[in-house]
Symmetry: C2
Subunit: 179 residues, 2 copies
């Protein structure tokens, strides 16, 4: 079974985190929600508190098939934590899938992973990421998967299912949720 | 400020609950997540545990501008709780907005609210709700708002914002999330 690690910091965008996790779990992928803090309660930008499955400190240097970074104001917390940068770099070095939505592609950029790549992101980070493909809801370039915001989170979740399982499974789930 | 009550039972569909709550809070609506159980931790169908803001027992007979019922396997728990039926009937009698997605329109139907109405719902409950408008992502009929599933939850959240605030606010939020 494919595995995915989702990093949650306070201020995460709820739809952007939960829609892909929901769809990945429907596809049978083993998803681990890891909080940057030691305690498992993480509160999103809209005030919804979720339970992480574990703390990032417990994950250590384990590699997953997919590392997924949701967006929202919490991205500044992802960027401030050197463990996140280390996880991004180690997953990239191992050829794993890296997925980021909204402002979170800036985390990939800070690790040097977007140089010369096609990507998208939220328009609010266009100053930092001038090559955003603003007409694309999701973009795949090699093992780098990016998307724009809460409004494209369902599309992004289905793309992640397609990459980790198959296009058939993504279509099956799309039908089941009336997408 | 408009108010909304969201009823959460174990087995709720995470995207269907969280997407509308996120968008309603972005619109400035005071949203209360109430758990049917006394303890505030509620676990969705995909294993995501959320904190409710309060327990339904604490809400009592208070009326909100909107009563919203998410779908998922948790709908059977909504239907088994006579307090949910009472809340649906009291909100309907007071002319409040009633919103239900996926299998949750069956709760409105059990309270007699769909007789002669236009509505939609998930195809899995077509046996119980033979008049589902399967080509509609969201349906408005008077104060009854319905939608089809996780894949239409963003559309539904934007419809709720339109009804409780304005079409302009819904368009503004749609733009901000790259919908």
């Amino acid at each position: 079974m494919a595995t995915a690690l989702v990093l949650l910091a306070d201020g995460f965008e709820e739809i952007e985190a939960i829609a892909p996790v929901d769809l990945l779990r429907r596809a049978g992928i083993e998803v681990t929600l890891a909080s940057l803090a030691e305690q498992p309660h993480v509160t999103g930008r809209c005030g919804i508190t979720m339970h992480a499955d574990t703390a990032l400190s417990q994950v250590g240097e384990r590699l997953f098939d997919l590392l997924f970074l949701p967006g929202g104001p919490g991205v500044k917390n992802l960027r401030a934590d050197p463990r996140v940068d280390a996880a991004v770099r180690s997953h990239a070095a191992a050829g794993k899938w890296l997925a980021a939505i909204c402002a979170a592609p800036t985390v990939l950029n800070a690790a040097g992973l977007l140089d010369g790549r096609r990507y998208t992101a939220h328009f609010s980070v266009a100053g930092e990421l001038p090559e955003i493909l603003a007409d694309q809801r999701v973009v795949t370039d090699g093992n780098i998967l990016t998307s724009r915001g809460a409004g494209t989170a369902l599309d992004f979740g289905l793309l992640l299912v397609e990459k980790l399982v198959s296009a058939d499974k993504a279509r099956e789930i799309a039908r089941s949720i009336c997408a």
